[in-house]
């Protein structure tokens, strides 16, 4: 039974209700003056409490999709890197599409239920978009939302449960030969592609803004930043272990460029993320400016750290840790020619760090900020920041050029 499945939640609710009923029913049996009756009362209350708390956690996890499977919750996170990478045209596919559905109509939410409707993976260079639905008119109106898995050939890292949103224009004849800019969106920890689709609501917001002509079309790749959950990997090339930065800065763009009609120069690539994803976005853009030219951090932080959920990320070297800190890079290394937009809100623990980062930015890097007068470290706050950040990226990115209409005959 799946950790996030409805039936598991129903089972937990039944257990919690049963716990309550049993306590109520057995109540008179321990109402006497015997000595063991008092611990029995406390024990009954404790059991029913525990069941309610567990139900609450399962419901919360289903809602926020912190852990999408038992293995993710209980796993060691060390089995995700494979010994050998698949080379071009050999072994397993580098991109797999596990499900596809129409993109959200402007103003409508994305479909809350996902069913695996189709599985497709293709050799390199084969157009995979629109294969499953085939309804070109519907696609040209609302675009397409694909659920994907990516296997990185250089890092050996496999990521599942991520999403790609293709805008309506991707399927329109005028754009049939256009190359679209790409936004790589990264979740916080814990989180996954679905957190970006549903909780942050990126495709829904894009659809609304596009209908109002406030953003230009782009391909949105939405991924969990943590490739080995429950370990928090912070988008770092961990010495002697997972090469997570290589995965996001090299493997993912390489795979996306091979299967979708997207731009390949840095002016066509932006990255955005919330919390850990925000740190990843800014750090990857500063470290790989020939790959990403623009970064947006929603409540990001700008200093590398490690704690219990990350384990050792830097091989015990403070020097290596420093190389992964945007703040430190700004004060000790040449400044890369990139633009970043950093967002935070007063009352959030990232606020002071964001202001400090802004003070450190120097040319040729350019910094923009969006600071809310109130808010917290949650999706409600980030959803308020999202429209402005999407507009900012749209204004920065090299747009897809539609074909010029031919002369009227």
């Amino acid at each position: 039974m799946g950790l996030t499945s409805g039936s598991f939640l129903i089972l937990m609710i039944c257990l919690a209700v049963a716990g309550l009923l049993v306590t109520v029913a057995l109540w008179p049996d321990v109402a006497g003056r015997k000595l063991w009756h008092v611990p029995a009362r406390i024990g009954m209350i404790a059991v029913s409490e525990a069941l309610v708390i567990a139900t609450f956690l399962v419901a919360l996890n289903g809602y926020f999709a912190f852990y999408t499977s038992w293995s993710q919750l209980l796993g060691s996170g060390s089995t995700r890197v494979t010994g050998t990478a698949d080379g071009a045209g050999s072994g397993g596919p580098l991109l797999t599409i596990t499900s596809a559905e129409p993109g959200p109509a402007p103003g409508a939410a994305v479909a809350p239920q996902r069913t695996i409707s189709a599985v497709a993976s293709g050799p390199r260079g084969i157009e995979v978009a629109g294969l499953i639905h085939g309804n070109r008119r519907g696609l040209a109106q609302n675009g397409e939302l694909l659920r994907i898995s990516i296997h990185g050939p250089r890092s050996g890292i496999s990521a599942t449960g991520d999403d790609v949103y293709l805008p309506p224009q991707y399927f329109q004849p005028a754009y049939a030969h256009s190359k679209f800019p790409v936004v790589l969106a990264l979740s916080g920890y814990p989180g996954n592609g679905w957190s970006l689709v549903k909780d942050l609501g990126v495709p829904a917001e894009v659809a609304v803004l596009a209908a109002e002509n406030k953003v230009r079309p782009a391909v949105y790749v939405m991924m969990g930043a943590n490739v080995a959950e429950p370990r928090d990997t912070e988008c770092i090339n961990i010495p002697g272990s997972l090469q997570v930065a290589t995965f996001f800065a090299e493997d993912v763009p390489e795979v996306i460029e091979h299967w979708f009609r997207v731009q390949t120069d840095p002016g066509g690539w932006a990255t955005i993320g919330y919390s850990t994803g925000g740190y990843c976005a800014v750090k990857l853009t500063m470290m790989y400016p020939w790959r990403f030219r623009y970064a947006v951090a929603l409540a990001g932080y700008y200093q590398a750290f490690q704690d219990r959920s990350t384990g050792d990320l830097y091989g015990g070297s403070t020097g290596y840790e420093a190389l992964n800190s945007p703040d430190w890079r700004l004060t000790h290394l040449p400044i890369p020619p990139v633009s970043v937009l950093v967002c935070s809100s007063k009352g959030e623990f990232t606020y002071r760090g964001t202001l400090k980062f802004l003070r450190l930015v120097r040319p040729p890097m350019r910094a923009y900020s969006l600071l809310l007068p109130n808010g917290g470290h949650n999706f409600g706050t980030w959803r308020r920041e999202l429209p402005e950040t999407l507009k900012w990226m749209s204004a920065m990115l090299k747009p897809a050029q539609p074909a010029i209409a031919g002369p009227v005959r």
Binding site: T82, Y314, G315, P334
Partner: protein, 384 residues
């Protein structure tokens, strides 16, 4: 009372404890089988559960810093803000802000001639690179083949990056002029397509002899001692960007190859194994490559030492789609120190070994091998 104030947690905890004690003590009064008593039992249990859940939520929220206030929790905050451009402040550190140096400066240019072979021509430039991202200034040489015209559109050349400790030597086959002459000869003989060859030292300023991104020893101390040396960044990020922009270098990584001599071999192999998307082809001398040359750069970290041990990398990290050639100066490659690499290589990696030839041009075979690997010049526009 504020959502994030610790007093709220204490209040809820006291409430929960009080409720629990009250329920346990007053248990008998609710033990009847009347409807009222049963409803009271249910109500008392539900109240306790609500208080406990509230306590957990408030405590987790405060430690995680998720919701900052009641209005934030209930979604009452509606304020938005505009994006503002942050004006770059020239603070105390501004003295170090210099306009970026030119990515490449040519200091001298000499023609390349080969005695007895009039067709073998080209030019050899002494250059100084200024790495935009690494900040490293590195002196080296660039060979441009006959027919190369700066600024000519369309033509894009494959690139061989030679990393050598003997660039200044007139006699070593890895000397800059000898490498240029050998390349010009082979191009004239049509055994090598016209290529641009970049020749760089293995030892970078700041003492990195292994082309690694060497972390600072004491990153939070002040002074020059604490600076990192970004060798990998120089070779894998700065160099391709500069050559594609300022020379007619191919932007297709398949047209790029590395050639290392005995001091640059670790550099070349290390770059191919960790930046295979930039350098998919490398030729290095026979060797074990378990420890980077020069001083220990890992600051005692066993994980960084592992990452620098190229045999460990090959054994434990995904095999990269690279083509490697190990050269030996002796006649029997079978006993070479590179055997672990030959043994460990799996698809998609390809490994070959070859003995260097004798005579005046011992590198000829190696260069034609590279020529086969990197192919003919690609037209501009089809790159990537």
């Amino acid at each position: 009372m504020g959502l994030t104030s610790p007093a709220l947690s204490y209040l809820l905890a006291a409430l929960a404890a009080g409720l629990l004690v009250t329920i346990v003590v007053c248990w008998r009064r609710l033990a009847d089988f009347t409807v009222a008593a049963i409803l009271l039992r249910v109500a008392s249990l539900l109240t306790l559960q609500a208080v406990v859940l509230a306590l957990i939520f408030v405590t987790v929220n405060r430690t995680g810093g998720y919701y900052s206030s009641w209005s934030d929790l209930f979604g009452l905050d509606r304020a938005s803000a505009a994006v503002t451009a942050s004006s770059p402040r020239l603070g105390p550190g501004s003295a170090r802000v210099r306009p970026p140096a030119k990515p490449v400066t040519v200091t001298t240019t000499v023609p390349v001639r080969v005695a007895g072979d009039a067709a073998a021509k080209g030019i050899l430039q002494s250059v100084r690179f200024s790495g935009r991202l690494s900040g490293l200034t590195v002196a080296g040489y660039i060979f441009l083949p006959a027919g190369y015209r700066a600024g000519r559109r369309g033509q894009r050349y494959p690139v061989i990056v030679a990393i050598s400790g003997e660039l200044a030597s007139r006699n070593s086959p890895y000397g800059a002029m000898r490498l240029a002459q050998n390349t010009a000869r082979l191009i004239a003989l049509r055994q090598l397509p016209p290529v641009v060859m970049v020749m760089l030292p293995a030892t970078l300023p700041g003492r990195d002899e292994s082309c690694l991104d060497v972390p600072a020893a004491a990153p939070y101390a002040n002074g020059a001692v604490s600076r990192p040396v970004l060798g990998t960044t120089f070779y894998a990020e700065d160099l391709p960007a500069t050559l594609e922009r300022d020379y007619q270098a191919s932007a297709d990584p398949a047209s790029w190859a590395l050639l290392g001599d005995h001091s640059g071999g670790y550099c070349a192999l290390q770059l191919a194994l960790t930046r295979s998307w930039v350098f998919p082809t490398a030729v290095v001398p026979d060797g074990g490559y378990t420890v980077p040359p020069g001083s220990a750069n890992t600051g005692g970290s066993p994980e960084l030492a592992q990452q620098d041990n190229l045999q460990w990398v090959l054994q434990n990290q995904p095999v990269q789609p690279v083509s490697l050639l190990f050269t030996s100066s002796g006649p029997v490659p079978g006993a070479s120190a590179a055997q672990p690499f030959v043994r460990l290589a799996r698809h998609p990696m390809r490994v070959a070994t070859a003995a260097l030839g004798g005579g005046s041009w011992p590198l000829s075979y190696v260069l034609t091998w590279i020529g086969d690997a990197i192919g003919s010049p690609a037209a501009a526009g089809v790159a990537r």
